[in-house]
């Protein structure tokens, strides 16, 4: 039996929204009321944050249908949200090239409709499912998470999606399901980076979580961001978001979710085991061998304001997730 601790981030908005943000939203609603909007549309909930600056995109019909019923701001961060243009033009997605702007340039070839995901291994209901069927039973939530890259930069992204736990529960994990393994699509025709002869990653990209980490309420499967469908370079059409771990754990363009008994091998760990561990929890006290993890550059920054801030234990989510690692030596299990 898996017990996930109920904590204050389990999706009760009044509890989780920091006061400052909450007040600003009230302010926004008061403003809307002043314009007569609330009065003329009684019962209409305001559609969360303002994304008028964001490039519009038409998602598949099922996505747009579910979007209308999104629980906006289900989890929020106090931090300022990174501009959409930066979040979509500064990506590590080696399937599309190794430079930060390669994914934005090369990801257009990826065809995300239709998309199916194989869920198998130690589950009662194995099979290959259409993405819409995986997502359908859960309500969309918006979660504003800090994203801390292992390269010591960070952003704040408003994701749109469903809790990972929902999907795993529906698959019906057996008693042997101790870990979850994820796989990215392999198709060099759509993902030119997989053709590179000097790429050191052994495709497919693989990631994994311990089952209790995967069932944690903060672990999230995103299908959108900034109030719209995910751009390809950000991991469309389905990606993982684990906000207390370094970004590389949050695997993109997922085609397979496998429940297993043994701890799975993961791509970066395979490539450089002394630099990247299985856990990869954000930890300012454990350096990457080639650079310090004590601080991070919050992006966007400028030449006059490098915006170097202190990195928080578990990326600031310690209160929610520290319990998962009680008694573990985090220097050893980095």
């Amino acid at each position: 039996m898996l017990i996930t601790p109920r904590n204050r981030l389990t999706l009760s908005e009044n509890d989780v929204t920091p006061e400052a943000v909450y007040l600003s939203r009230r302010h926004f609603m008061a403003g809307a009321a002043g314009l007569g909007l609330a009065a003329s549309f009684p019962g209409v909930t305001l559609a969360g944050p303002d994304y008028s600056e964001v490039a519009k995109a038409q998602g598949p019909q099922w996505f747009e249908d579910k979007l209308a019923n999104t629980r906006w701001d289900a989890v929020v961060a106090e931090d300022k949200i990174t501009p959409f243009n930066d979040a979509t033009h500064y990506n590590n997605f080696y399937e599309f090239g190794s430079d930060k702007d390669d994914p934005a340039q090369n990801a257009g070839k990826l065809n995300t409709v239709p998309w199916s995901v194989t869920i198998d291994g130690e589950v009662a209901n194995p099979g290959r499912y259409a993405l819409e069927d995986i997502v359908q039973p859960s309500r969309f939530e918006e979660r504003i998470y800090r994203l801390r890259c292992v390269e010591a930069w960070s952003m704040v992204i408003p994701w749109l999606g469903i809790p990972l736990a929902d999907v795993i529960k529906r698959a019906g994990p057996t008693g042997n399901a101790k870990y979850v393994r994820f796989e990215t699509l392999v198709d060099p025709k759509q993902m030119p980076g997989q053709d590179s002869r000097f790429a050191l990653i052994d495709w497919p990209y693989e990631e994994g979580l311990r089952i209790d980490e995967a069932m944690h309420p903060l672990a999230f499967l995103a299908v959108g961001m900034y109030g719209r469908v995910l751009p390809n370079q950000n991991g469309a059409p389905l990606r993982l978001v684990v906000p207390w771990k370094y970004g590389f754990k949050s695997i993109k363009s997922i085609v397979r979710i496998l429940l297993v008994e043994e701890q799975p091998e993961t791509s970066w760990h395979k490539l450089a085991p002394n630099e990247y561990g299985f856990y990869a929890n954000v930890n300012p006290e454990v350096d990457h061998p080639r650079w310090s993890q004590a601080t991070e550059r919050r992006l966007p920054n400028s030449l006059f304001r490098p915006n170097v801030i202190e990195t928080q234990m578990f990326n600031g989510y310690a209160e929610q997730v520290a319990g998962l690692y009680q008694g573990m030596d985090l220097r050893k299990y980095y």
Binding site: Y94, R290, S292, L303
Partner: protein, 203 residues
């Protein structure tokens, strides 16, 4: 020749203007400091490779133009390297000197990069005629350290690569090629190549 030298001088400044323009226009991405850091670093490596190609080119073509800009390009290499260091101190470390101490102790690629720049500094300071005269024969031996710089710079770059060696392999291949051209038997064939080309031209 002064015109040629001026042209080279301007050409070496063009990339700096190009990058500055991008930063000023907000077209350098969300991390302009890192953009400059990487460009100056890569620029320094390119300039180093160009500098090291001048001697083989002179042998191949006998055109004096290549050798008269050698010192200038060497100094540009150092300048770009220095700018690269400044970017690191300003934008990555945000002038946190205690962090610099830690980095210098713990990160081999930082040590290797710092060593390469230190050697370039010494070579730059002794690149004038007075130093050449004062050092005599030892000047040439001292300036052979530029080959060590090339090796250190490539190692520095290699250690930063996370997952894709494409770019690095390109630079390393050029570096290996330039070093091969300096092996005496190979180096001797360069003037011969020129003569053969000339003879064909006269046929």
């Amino acid at each position: 020749m002064w015109l040629w030298r001026t042209l080279v001088f301007i050409a070496a400044l063009v990339p700096v203007g190009w990058w500055a323009w991008h930063v000023a226009m907000n077209a350098a991405g969300p991390e302009p400091g890192r953009y400059l850091l990487l460009n100056f670093g890569q620029g320094a490596l390119v300039l180093l490779l160009i500098t090291l190609s001048l001697t083989p080119l002179t042998k191949l073509t006998r055109w004096k133009g290549f050798s008269v800009v050698r010192r200038q390009l060497g100094l540009w290499t150092f300048s770009y390297g220095l700018a690269h260091l400044l970017c690191y101190l300003l934008f990555i470390l945000a002038l946190d000197w205690s962090a610099l101490g830690t980095e210098l102790q713990r990160r081999p690629y930082i040590i290797v990069g710092a060593l390469a720049l230190l050697i370039l500094l010494i070579l730059s300071l002794t690149s004038n005629r007075a130093s050449m005269r004062r050092l005599g024969k030892r000047w040439k031996a001292l300036h052979k350290l530029v080959y060590l710089v090339l090796a250190l710079v490539l190692l520095h770059f290699f250690w930063i690569v996370r997952a894709d060696l494409t770019q690095w392999s390109g630079y390393a291949a050029v570096a290996v090629g330039l070093m091969l051209l300096r092996i005496p038997p190979v180096a001797r064939t360069l003037p011969a190549l020129r003569k053969r080309a000339q003879r064909h031209g006269h046929d």
